[in-house]
Each structure stands twice: as C-alpha cells, then as structure tokens.
Amino acid sequence: MQVYLPIAEMAVSAESILLLGALVGFLSGVFGVGGGFLTTPFLIFMGLPPAVAVGTQASQLVAASFSGVLGHWKRGNVDVKLGTVMMGGSMVGSIIGVMVFRLLQHIGQIDLAIPILYVGLLGTMGIMMLVESITAAMKKGGEEKERSRLYHHPLLLALPYKMRFPQSKIYVSVLVPGGIGFLGGLLVSIMGIGGGFLLVPAMIYILGMPTMLVAGTSLFQILFTTMFATIMHAFASHTVDLVLAGLLIVSGVIGVQFGVRMTRKIKGVYARIFLSLLLLLVSIELAGELVIKPVDIYTTEVR
C-alpha cells in the first residue's frame, strides 16, 4: 500500500516503512540501541530527502528514548545532575550540527558526508565491539575484565570547572560530560542517530560512572536532545514528517515487544556479535556507495 507523506511530499510503500520500524524496534528490544543507524540510511535509500529522514528520525527517537527512560527512572538508574550537564553540551552540539548539515547541503556534499560519517563511526564501533565480544565469548568465564581507566588520565584530571556528581560518585570537570553530550548532539542533528552506542562506552570509559546508571542517564540525555532537535528541525526547516514518524513509532513499539522477549533466549555475547556484524554490514554497504561508480554521475537537486 502506498501512503503519501505530507511533509516529504512523496508517496512511499507503507509496508517497507512498517517493516523497517518493526525490525529496528526488534533490535532496540534485543540490544537496547535506538536503531537510528539503520533507519536513517534506509530512509535515504528509499528516496526520502536526507533532511526529512534526519528530522523525522529525531521525533522517532523521542518516543523510543522516553519509553526507555521511564523504566530506568522507576528503578532510580538516572543521574539527573550528570544527564543535565551532558544535555547542556548536546544542545550546543545539535545547534552546531544543524548548521553543519545546512552548510554541507549548500555546498552539495551532504551525500558524501553522511556515508563517510556512518562508515567511520559504525565501522569503528562494529570492529571494536566484534573484537570485544569474540574475546569475551572465547574466555567463557565471568572474570572481571581490567578496564582501561581513561578517566584517570592526567589530561582529564587537569581540566577546570570540576563538579561533584554524588549519584555517580564521580568528581570531574563539567567539560568532560559536556563534551560527550556535545558529540551526542552533533550525531543527532547531522546523522539522525541518538548515538547511544557511542555515548554508553564513552560514559563508562571516559567518565568512569557506574555501569548501572549509564543506560538510564544516556537515554535521559538522548530524550532531551532529540526533543530539542525535533523542535529545531520542525521550526527551522519543516522536515519532521508526522505521518512517517507515526508509522515508524507504531511498528517500532510492536518490534520492541518481540525483541524484549528474544533477549531471554539469546546470550548477551552472541547478541553483541550479531549487533557488531550488523554495524559492519551497514558500513560496508555505505562504503560501497562511495567507491562504486554511480549509475549516473550527474544528479539534480531542486532548490
């Protein structure tokens, strides 16, 4: 069935969108990731303008992170103070991200920048996660792994504006969580991804906060960043398509149900191997687009 998207001003196949939403929801349920890294490239691949894909994805992430954060909130796993500091950084990041997006669009390099960013980010994360999970699977044991204590690095300790975060039991310069948030904000507004898969390791290794609080706090931060990004995209460039968002959200909710049920059956390590392979697959596909000669080397854009 074709459905006409009022803001994108084009017709898309409803089945494809629903399938995509359900698949991404399923993955969110299994892995606890937002899945924006799959949705945004796929929407662009379906012919949606990149700006609409990114803008709409932001509103979809609001729904996903809100339902996630509610659960963590109830269990008290959200460090609001730390999350708020990160949020401050992410607001700045998303404003700059929107400007960078506009600039890239203007000089005609957005369809180069998006794949390169995806390939770089997803490729790196995929390889790191694959190596880590394979080593973990081989060890077969539960021995506590020695973590790289980046948060004890003298350079990080030397930063000014130190603040105490009692819930996470850390004493750190606000520039560190602010900087991580800034990066998250950039990702939301340029790539249309929440960036949980990047924020979570950063919060563990760079901030050194307790693992228990990481997921809830990063979701808390992502929720407010994506809320802000949604309003900004809607206000500045009219690129939030509510019909598309609705389709993605509804099918995503159904997918999450199945995903959560699956987690009881899949071992965490194998799930991580699968996720890392998926990240690598998406980045290889996007890398292919960059190096394989396009069917037509000319493209036309309506201004």
Binding site: Q2, Y4, L242
Partner: protein
C-alpha cells in the same frame, strides 16, 4: 454510434465549463479538462488527467503541461582518491518542476525548431538559464543530465504522448501524473499549429495540491512551525509512554 453521444457529452461539458474558461481564446480552440485539479490525499498513487478539445480550423495540436518554475542544481560526481564525490556544479534558473507534452504528430513535422523553441514545445525546445558557468559545451552536458535525471524520476516525459482524434476536429489526450508529482499551480497550454505557425493558443490552469488531513498537516507544519514541533514531541512522548505501559504489563 458512439460519436454523437461523445459529441453531446462534450457539448454539455464545454457549456458547463464556459464561465470558467476565462483565458484568451480566439475561438479556434475549445478545451476542457475532465478534472480541474489534482487532489493529493493520503492514499494518492498518481492521477489520470484527460483533456478534451475541439478545433475549428485544420492543423496540428500540441498540448504542454508545465509546473511552476524552480531553480535546480546539477552536480557531477568524479573520483577523488577512490571516492565518488560531487565536483562540478551548474545551476539552472527557470526549470519547470514538472513538464509533459502531447502531440498530434512528430514535433519536427508540426513546426520548425524556431517555432517550437519560441513556445517551449518539447524538451529540446526548453531553454534553461544557467547560473555560475560560461563554457557552452559544459552547460549543454549539464542541461542534458538535468533532463535525463528529471525523466528518470518521472518529472519529464520520455517521449510525447499521443493525441487521439475522435473526429476531424474533436480530440482527446490522456496524461498520467505520478505519485511524486510536485504540488503547485500548473498551466496547460494547447496550441493549434498550421504551416509551421501557431494559429491559436488556449491556456487553462490546473491546481495540484494536497487536500484533507494531509493538507491541514502541511499547513500546520509550515504556518505554525514551532507549535508543530512541540506537537511532534508531545505525540512522540505519548507514544513512548504508551509503549512503556504496554511493555510493563507482561
């Protein structure tokens, strides 16, 4: 006999349409559109458009459908360090966002190139004003690419459509507008040509627009952008909250 029935039908149609046909018409051409607008609804998958006409003189007919003009940018990718990226750019100022054409016979037999060019009949006859480049050979390559890109996406025709003559002076043309047809005010011009000269022109308007829920949503998004953003956030949170409650139960 079908013809008299059709003729009566046409007569009724034209009578009904007469007050609406306020365009300049020297009487040699009478045109009627089966639909005065293309309404894009949530389930829009494209629209058929039928145009009926009569001519009171001998000659050929050319029908041109043109959407509003926009500025378009054509980019050329080249390999740099193994990566295909946009390198050269040419902008064109006055490109119709949609163009379609029906002819009673081959364009070259209807009129000489100058006449076709003057009235913009046929893709080859459309002249776009380039911005930012001077080299004519390059401009021509980019212009060809523009036409090719727009053809592949369905905004320009691959070849002219036929005009069906139901009698010597009564004709019909069928157009199809795809699901991705751009919105805007379109003009439909019908030309009567004889001996390579335009004898008569009839112009009628066609409005391509979203209607119903879609149109309201579009207007909301554009006229009250901030409120729309807030609404998008609110609805997303509502959906997320509902999803959480739903998940929590089991």
């Amino acid at each position: 006999m079908r013809l008299p029935v059709l003729m009566i039908g046409l007569f009724v149609l034209t009578l009904a349409a007469l007050p609406a046909l306020a365009q300049v018409n020297n009487g040699a051409l009478t045109i009627d559109l089966a639909e005065k607008s293309v309404n894009i609804t949530a389930g829009f998958t494209g629209a058929n458009l039928s145009l009926f006409g009569t001519k009171e003189q001998a000659g050929d007919i050319a029908i041109v459908i043109k959407g509003p003009e926009r500025r378009m940018v054509v980019r050329r990718k080249d390999q740099l360090a193994g990566i295909w990226m946009n390198r050269e750019t040419v902008g064109f100022r006055n490109v119709p966002i949609y163009y379609d054409l029906a002819l009673s016979q081959q364009a070259s037999r209807i009129a000489p190139q100058e006449t076709l060019r003057k009235y913009g009949i046929g893709l080859d006859a459309l002249s776009f004003e380039p911005v930012g480049r001077e080299d004519p050979a390059a401009i021509e390559r980019f212009r060809e690419a523009l036409v090719r890109n727009r053809q592949i996406d369905g905004y320009f025709p691959l070849e002219p459509r036929n005009i069906v003559f139901l009698s010597d002076d009564f004709f019909r043309a069928n157009f199809y507008m795809p699901a991705n047809v751009p919105t805007g005010d379109y003009s439909i011009k019908t030309y009567l040509l004889r001996n390579g000269e335009v004898q008569s022109i009839n112009e009628t308007q066609l409005r391509v627009a979203q209607v119903g829920f879609n149109a309201r949503l579009y207007r909301f998004a554009h006229l009250h952008a901030f409120a729309y953003g807030l609404a998008a956030v609110f609805l997303a949170m509502l959906a997320g909250g509902a999803a959480w409650m739903f998940l929590r139960r089991d």
